[in-house]
């Protein structure tokens, strides 16, 4: 059963001479529980695609169907609630709220939904991310890698159906990097979460079920590694 269907998705920036087509008529579908790696050269449109999947940007053309719902037909409020409950988005540039502590940043999606925090789960994640002892720090008191790990924690906390990660290990050493990928994979396996990861790391790409190569805003290759 496909959880995600992308049809003719395009995104361009600017108009006229300076117009840039970041995504050009991209279509593919994703099965529930799949682990997909997206690779491609810098500037090829990977982040753009991921943002469109996460409902945080607006496409120029085409649509994104999640569970048979066209998410860009939803109104602002519905879309916000959809993001809050269904999507875990890990940004390339972390994007934490500077005035909130690590703990508050991580539990934010739950708090917005007025969900009680499952303390057991929270502590498991914190431990797995190696953030114990940093919970009451503000983002600008953390290293780049730590900030990235907080943003991963924030994405994991609400058990989203769709986990989207933009170079989640870009700032981490190989040991840390492996642990994070294992964590994401564990959620992917145990909770049947769909996982899409952008990466430049071949090691990570090879662990995926399927690898999408993007070049110049188009899907250049779509390889299924393990069916």
């Amino acid at each position: 059963m496909s959880i995600l269907e992308i049809n003719g998705l395009s995104k361009s920036y600017g108009t006229g001479e300076t117009a840039v087509k970041a995504l050009d008529n991209v279509s593919f579908s994703v099965e529930k529980g799949e682990f997909i790696a997206i690779i491609g050269p810098s500037g090829s449109g990977k982040s753009t695609l991921l943002h469109l999947l996460g409902g945080v940007d607006r496409p120029s053309e085409g649509n994104v169907m999640v569970d048979h719902t066209d998410i860009y037909q939803l109104n602002e409020t519905q879309l916000a609630i959809f993001r809050r409950r269904q999507i875990g988005l890990i940004y390339q540039f972390y994007n934490l709220i500077p005035v909130l502590t690590v703990e508050e940043n991580m539990t934010l999606p739950l708090l917005l939904d007025q969900h009680a925090v499952d303390h057991q789960q929270f502590h498991d994640i914190v431990e797995a991310l190696g953030l114990t002892g940093r919970l009451h720090h503000l983002p600008n008191q953390l290293s780049g890698g730590q900030q990235q790990r907080v943003s991963i924690g924030r994405a994991l906390i609400s058990n989203p159906a769709l986990m989207l990660a933009d170079e989640p290990t870009g700032n981490l050493d190989s040991k840390n990097s492996n642990e994070i990928i294992e964590l994401l994979k564990m959620f992917n396996k145990t909770l049947n979460q769909t996982l899409i990861v952008i990466t430049h790391d071949e090691q990570i790409a090879l662990q995926a079920d399927r690898v999408l190569s993007i070049e110049d805003g188009r899907i250049a290759k779509d390889e299924v590694i393990r069916p």
Partner: protein, 858 residues
């Protein structure tokens, strides 16, 4: 231009809206500072004009200068024009009809005198040669003498002297007599012949009580003899503090006997030392300027602080590639310079224009209120301009100092960390669980934002608090003055009051009741007497107040005896529930005692209400004239017919310990006086009219100069204009200060929201709904509003209390909070904060999340 300044300029251009709001704020404050400075110089000039119009344009008087020395003064460098004048003295006025004005008063002046002193010609021409005179037009109005233009008359002129001491008397001293016996005489010195060439309005050398009508003679200084002594009065070229030394020097040189300075005029040049006016005036200006500066500094400081924290990334980067502390600091001063260079000239021009417009509006009012012909005109002196520029520049400098210091300290590290405004402590910010429960997570995030961005939050609350205090205290002040004015008129139920001194008889003013439009009238004869009261009848407060009794053990009371015309008396007695039938006809004179006094005790500051005399109906009071300290001069006994606390219309209570008011009728007064003549009496007629202004005109046409007509309607209108006049300035001031505050609030709030663009995008991306977003912003607004009110209201109330205490003597009523203004403030604060928030957030709400995240800063 160096690169740092280039970046600064580019940034100012990029943040157009904030730069514009800052510039507008600075323009307003420069305009206000300019306005205050120009207002000061213009008022000074206006007061000079008014003083010159009423007292003449002169500066120094050399009394009794030998006539042969006049050229010395005339040719002195500092002398511009020289008035030569001389009081000739008095002559008996054969046609005089008023007891208090039996003389003609002769004064002579040279041409400069007619020019520099306010002589208002009403008919004919000014005298041009010896022997020609101008006469006071009242001579013709008050009497039947034929001193018309063209008349030539001869008089014996001499000096008025007191009978016993031979002391010379002048126009300041009224006619001296007692019991119809004159206490002064005239000592004729010379006989002169004059020709009347014109009439003039009453002059400044004649008071309402002066005994002589003024006649001005033309003095040709060349006709003076060697030994003559005259007064020479100089108008000085260039008024500055050197005129004192120079005048003394000249007096010594010429042998002038005395020097008088025109202090009331000189003080408006700011040269007198012995005048509090300068101090009061100056401190008022300083206070106003300080208020403006506080408002503006908080605005400009905020603007610079915001811009520095925005630029922190550039500044940090620059420092990592080698910009010095100085370069970084100067970039902030450069920003201040750019803003100042644009705002100061515009501000000064608009300040002057604003004042000019205000003057145009208030000139008619001020002419009416102050009863002058002079106009307020814009006077800009180099000093006022320079001080406006200096104050504005200092304001900008002070405002940019701290941000500049901060900028100089920015390092590359700060640039990387970026959000250095956020407090760098891990300490949990306590927000009550209640907030989250009641308003949701969104409110809590809003609150955390405020608390962690302490500086910006404090600056915003501070500017709100300042606005609240300014608005409330200023409106409290105006409100109270308004109330005082209204109170003074509250009890008045007549339209026109006619009154005069002792020489205005009942027959003089009673005919006015027959004028057209008069609907009702009350005639009251007031006699000022005293009474001795036995100790046991004197209340304790009065004893305390009087301190000790007279030698005979009794206490002396001052008594105002009011005799109303019989009909009005009957009406009044009826109002207080007293039958008058047996009273008026009785042999024993009786009166109604107004026996309740209310007064403000100066030492305790409390309002005290007490009985005047401890007495009862049917007891008597022994009255005597004021001069008679002993009872030998007693006028007789009067019986107390009734006690009351209610005064008849038109009479205001004496209300002081040791004073009482007695009300009686005209007929009973006759019985009481039985042909004795009291020394201090006054006749007053109160009129009601269907058209007060018209009746007033009719009165003005026929009344002689010694009857005073007071028109309530007219004075009511005058006071209303006075209030309007004050309101123009106070509310203008409030409005401008509020404008600065609003600009400030706008700047702080909108920037703090713009800076949080990224954060908002982030919140949206993790699923904050538009509704939640509104909630957060609303909560922040409410929080700002509450915080500002929590500080602002108590401080304002304390300020009002302080104003009330210091002006207690002016306010004759209790302290009352201006609830309406407070309500306005509360509403206005939430509206201003809320609408600014909404305005700032409007764009951000629509923005694309990814775009928001890409925002570096703004």
């Amino acid at each position: 231009m160096n690169i740092v300044n280039k970046i600064t300029l580019r940034q100012l251009k990029q943040n157009k809206r904030r730069t514009l709001v800052t510039i507008i704020g600075v323009i307003i404050s420069v305009a206000m500072v300019t306005a205050v400075a120009v207002l000061a110089t213009s008022f000074q000039d206006f007061m000079k004009q008014v003083t010159i119009a009423s007292d003449g344009e002169w500066h120094v008087e050399y009394a009794n200068t030998p006539a042969n020395q006049l050229p010395t003064i005339q040719e002195d460098e500092q002398t511009d024009e020289l008035v030569v004048t001389n009081d000739l003295g008095y002559a008996e006025f054969d046609g005089a009809e008023r007891e208090s004005k039996p003389y003609l008063f002769f004064k002579e002046m040279n041409e400069a005198g007619f020019d520099l002193f306010p002589v208002q010609l009403t008919e004919g021409r000014l005298p041009q040669s010896s022997g020609e005179v101008l006469i006071n037009e009242n001579i013709l109005a008050d009497t039947k003498t034929d001193l018309g233009i063209g008349t030539t008359f001869t008089v014996d002129i001499g000096q008025r002297v007191a009978l016993n001491s031979e002391q010379p008397l002048g126009q300041e001293t009224s006619i001296q007599y007692e019991d119809k016996k004159a206490l002064e005489k005239l000592k004729p010195k010379q006989t002169k012949t004059f020709t009347v060439v014109g009439t003039m309005e009453s002059t400044i050398w004649e008071r309402s009580w002066s005994p002589g009508y003024t006649i001005l003679h033309y003095l040709d200084p060349s006709t003076l003899n060697e030994g003559d002594k005259v007064n020479s009065i100089a108008k000085v070229n260039n008024v500055n503090s050197s005129i004192y030394d120079n005048a003394e020097h000249l007096a010594e040189q010429t042998g002038a006997e005395e020097i008088h300075y025109h202090d009331s005029l000189l003080r408006y040049y700011g040269v007198t030392d012995h005048s509090n006016l300068k101090k009061t005036f100056f401190s008022l200006i300083v206070i106003l300027m300080l208020i403006i500066m506080i408002g503006s500094i908080s605005l400009i400081y905020n603007a610079f602080a915001i811009s520095v924290s925005e630029r922190s990334k550039h500044l940090g980067m620059l420092s990592s590639i080698g910009a010095t502390k100085r370069q970084k600091r100067n970039s902030v001063f450069f920003e201040g310079g750019v803003i100042g260079a644009i705002s100061i000239p515009i501000g000064i021009l608009s300040g002057i224009a604003g004042i000019a417009a205000t003057f145009m509006f208030i000139n008619p009012i001020i002419q009416e209120v102050a009863n002058v012909d002079q106009k307020l005109s814009v006077v800009v002196t180099p000093i006022s301009l320079v001080s406006a520029v200096v104050v504005s520049a200092v304001t900008i400098l002070i405002s940019s100092y701290l941000p500049a210091r901060k900028a100089s300290k920015l390092t590359a590290m700060d640039a990387i960390r970026q959000t250095q405004d956020v407090k760098l402590t891990g300490k949990a910010v306590k927000t009550s669980k209640l907030v989250r429960k009641m308003f949701g997570m969104e409110a809590e995030i809003g609150l955390k934002n405020l608390k962690r961005n302490k500086k910006r939050y404090k600056a915003t609350v501070f500017s709100l608090v300042i606005s609240i205090i300014l608005f409330l205290t200023v409106s409290f002040f105006t409100d109270n003055i308004k109330k005082s004015l209204e109170l003074t008129q509250a009890d008045i139920n007549y339209d026109i009051k006619l009154s005069g001194f002792e020489d205005v008889s009942a027959d003089d003013i009673k005919p006015y009741t027959q004028l057209e439009g008069v609907t009702a009238s009350t005639f009251i004869r007031t006699i000022y007497l005293s009474a001795s009261v036995e100790e046991k009848k004197v209340p304790e407060v009065v004893k305390d107040y009087k301190q000790r009794p007279l030698d005979n053990g009794k206490y002396s009371y001052s008594v105002n005896l009011y005799a109303m015309d019989d009909e009005s008396f009957r009406k009044y007695a009826g109002e207080i529930g007293k039958k008058t039938d047996d009273m008026i006809e009785a042999d024993q004179p009786s009166a109604i005692l107004v026996n309740e006094i209310t007064y403000n005790d100066q030492s305790s500051g409390r309002v005290i209400e007490t009985e005047g005399i401890l007495t009862n109906v049917n007891e008597t009071l022994t009255l005597h004239s004021i001069r008679g300290e002993t009872e030998q001069k007693g006028l007789g006994e009067i019986e107390i017919a009734a006690l009351t606390d209610q005064l008849p219309m038109g009479i205001t209570s004496t209300s002081r310990p040791g004073g009482v008011d007695l009300i009686t009728s005209e007929q009973m007064l006759e019985t009481f006086l039985s042909n004795q003549k009291p020394e201090h009496a006054r006749n007053t007629l109160y009129l009601n009219s269907s058209d007060p202004m018209k009746t007033q005109e009719a009165i003005e046409e026929i009344k002689p100069s010694h009857i005073r007509a007071y028109n309530v309607e007219q004075s009511r209108q005058q006071q209303e204009r006075m209030l309007l006049f004050m309101s123009v300035f106070t509310y203008g001031f409030i409005a401008l200060i509020s404008a600065i505050s609003i600009a400030n609030i706008f700047n702080t709030i909108s920037t703090s929201i713009a800076i949080r663009k990224r954060e908002f995008a982030m919140l949206k991306s993790v699923g904050m709904t538009p509704k939640g977003f509104n909630k957060m912003i609303n909560y922040e607004s409410i929080f700002y509003g509450f915080k500002a009110l929590i500080y602002g209201l108590p401080i304002s109330i304390a300020c009002m209390g302080a104003i009330y205490v210091s002006l207690r003597h002016t306010f004759t009523y209790g302290f009352a909070l201006p609830w309406i203004s407070i309500l306005y403030v509360i509403i206005a604060i939430f509206i201003i904060v809320g609408s600014t928030m909404l305005y700032s957030i409007r764009k951000i709400k629509k923005q694309n999340i990814i775009e928001g995240l890409r925002q570096e800063n703004l």
